[in-house]
């Protein structure tokens, strides 16, 4: 397995799992407009995942994009643990997405400068979409945080619960460092400063309190996950597992 393949897979996995989580909102949104918004975001995430899986499949040469998405187990998925966390209430989903959207925005902005032409092209495509995902989640965070006492409590609680999954976003392992030195990968640790500034700014507007940095979960990159990923995969992969190679 080449480093570039694994690196590409990691990006694809986070998009796919967040897309799958967002698809759970389809027909369950709080309003029709939001239902449509979340389904749209889900589609964007699937589309981005598909682009990266196609590239990974091309690098690998033995597995198709569909096989990568539907025939791997939990331990072979490298997504951030943040994206697999439960949707909870609408506020929880907006908090989770906001924390990830800010990261994605900064990450793709940097990845557009990658020496790898395909990664750079996929990043510029994804960046256009991530910009309005971020606008969407930020606006909701402000509206809910600065809304009623109840809405404020709900998003503040979600923020406290999900904060421990934000540390992982900025981790660098050997593979990241190797590709960074080749001008291909993004320096995740360098994104932290800007992420802090952007997150803090919105939290202030939303009248929310930034949680203290305490224990941070880790392991997504190594294929270690919270209990939720297995459930997500069992639903998402069911059809391809039960009827391998089934076509739509």
């Amino acid at each position: 397995m080449s480093s570039l393949f694994t690196y590409t897979l990691r990006i694809a996995d986070s998009s796919l799992i967040l897309g799958q989580r967002m698809s759970e909102w389809c027909s369950n949104g709080p309003t029709l407009e939001e239902d449509i918004a979340m389904s749209n975001i889900s589609l964007d995430m699937f589309g981005q995942a598909n682009g990266f899986y196609q590239y990974a499949a091309q690098l690998d040469g033995t597995k198709s994009a569909d096989e990568l998405a539907f025939r791997r187990n939990e331990r072979e998925f490298f997504n951030h643990q943040l994206v697999e966390q439960e949707n909870g209430n609408f506020g929880t989903t907006m908090v989770r997405n906001f924390l990830h959207d800010v990261f994605n925005f900064l990450f793709y902005t940097e990845l557009t400068k990658s020496k790898d032409e395909t990664l750079s092209a996929l990043a510029s495509k994804s960046l256009k979409e991530v910009k309005y995902h971020l606008r969407h989640s930020s606006n909701w965070l402000i509206r809910l945080g600065d809304g009623t006492g109840e809405s404020n409590t709900k998003v503040q609680d979600a923020l406290e619960e999900l904060w421990m999954y934000t540390g992982e976003l900025f981790e660098m392992d050997n593979l990241d460092t190797e590709l960074l030195n080749n001008g291909i990968a993004v320096d995740n640790s360098a994104l932290k400063l800007e992420w802090d500034i952007m997150v803090n700014k919105t939290l202030v507007k939303a009248k929310l309190t930034r949680p203290e940095d305490a224990y941070m979960a880790t392991g997504g990159k190594k294929g270690l996950h919270t209990e939720y990923l297995g459930f997500i995969l069992s639903e998402m992969q069911f059809l391809q597992r039960a009827y391998p190679d089934a076509k739509w």
Partner: protein
């Protein structure tokens, strides 16, 4: 097969409608980036509008059908991501077609396609398709869709 005649291919492609906005063709949408013949095979480069847009798969199939119905069988459709698709590739004539169809075309100022008022309000950044957002006109009070600028 009219080998080498790319103009003819462009004309054919211009008959393939966008599956979700049938008043404009895939050429007018700006997704066909390049048409060229290489060693007697036709290569068409296509750029997706939005990465998750389900219409992409549909119009790829429609393009294949259009070509084979016109006895062109030796072709390859290639997806290109860079440069990323932008609404800036749409011509004014295409934008006018959108407006007549009831969709406010991509522009810095959102204009009601019905009464042409600039007095409009965003309802939701997300509409019935990935490329559109939802607005309402504060003059004639009609809701309408706006083709997002990306």
């Amino acid at each position: 097969m009219q080998s080498g005649n790319t103009k003819y291919i462009w004309e054919l492609l211009n008959t393939v409608p966008d599956p979700e906005i049938p008043v404009i063709s895939v050429v007018e949408l700006g997704v066909i980036r390049e048409v060229k013949f290489e060693n007697d095979s036709l290569n068409i480069s296509i750029t997706p509008t939005y990465s998750g847009c389900p219409a992409v798969k549909t119009f790829m199939d429609d393009i294949k059908t259009c070509l084979t119905e016109n006895d062109i069988n030796n072709f390859e459709l290639k997806i290109v991501y860079s440069p990323a698709w932008t609404t800036e590739w749409m011509t004014d004539a295409t934008k006018e077609k959108l407006r007549k169809y009831g969709i406010s075309p991509p522009s810095n100022i959102v204009i009601c396609p019905q009464c042409k008022s600039e007095n409009t309000t965003l309802i939701s950044e997300f509409g019935s398709t990935a490329c559109k957002s939802l607005f309402k006109c504060d003059e004639c009070l009609e809701p309408f869709e706006f083709f997002k600028c990306i």
